[in-house]
């Protein structure tokens, strides 16, 4: 278990909304292990825009019901300006920029399905991000 909360990026939240059973089971098992999880609100927005269905909404809403998961809102002028700063520095879209802003502020690892997309944004920020890829070694 990580001492730090794990931040789910948009790729993970999108696939949860699409109903990926293995990914949902992984998140559920981390929650059962009392691993703190953080889901940036804008990652949920991205996933909701991607998968427009009642089931997707229920799967996304289910994230909020996990015992050890916290939805990180975009709150107040400081956080809004910090998000703009991350977008300007990295050229990330607002959804993943919110992920980066949350992870950067709290020094938390980012869980992603695509580590490669984070390499350049991580280099663009003042401090590198800790990227952890969810991948099956048997698929490589």
């Amino acid at each position: 278990m990580s001492a730090f909360p794990l931040v789910l990026d948009t790729s993970v939240v999108r696939d949860i909304a699409r109903g990926d059973p293995d990914l949902i089971a992984l998140v559920q098992r981390y929650d059962a292990r009392n691993q703190p999880l953080v889901i940036p609100a804008l990652a949920i927005t991205a996933a909701c825009l991607d998968a427009r269905s009642e089931e997707a909404d229920d799967l996304l809403g289910g994230l909020e019901l996990l015992e050890n998961a916290t939805i990180a809102p975009l709150r107040g002028a400081e956080q809004a300006m910090r998000l703009a700063d991350v977008i300007a520095k990295t050229a990330l879209d607002p959804w993943d920029a919110h992920v980066a802003a949350v992870a950067d502020a709290a020094i938390c690892p980012i869980l992603t399905l695509d580590a490669a997309k984070w390499r350049q944004p991580s280099a663009d920020l003042d401090e590198p991000l800790h990227i952890v890829e969810i991948s099956d070694p048997d698929d490589e």
């Binding site: 990580s2 059973p21 990914l23 229920d58 289910g62 690892p109 869980l111 800790h130 890829e133 048997d138």
Partner: protein
């Protein structure tokens, strides 16, 4: 529904309070308390449906693959520390 009601004091957003009162005025709720009771009952139903959906998805998962995915994540987290 329980026949014995619990008495609680809640603080709500003014627009939601106004909406609840409107429901009563238009005959769509028997009281403001009933309006908030119904809203909470709806949330309880929705949360149960969402938990059930998550559990159904977990039952569809391939446990051996999830084991591998978690082991790989844990390995990276250990390397980072």
């Amino acid at each position: 529904m329980s026949e014995t009601k619990a008495r609680i004091t809640i603080t709500v957003d003014p627009q939601l309070s106004a909406y609840a009162e409107r429901l009563v005025e238009t005959g769509n709720a028997t009281s403001v308390s009933a309006a908030f009771n119904d809203a909470m009952a709806d949330k309880a139903y929705r949360d149960r449906r969402r938990r059930s959906l998550w559990l159904a998805k977990v039952e569809q998962s391939r446990q051996d693959r999830v084991d591998r995915l978690m082991a790989h994540v844990d390995e990276q987290l250990t390397d980072d520390q």
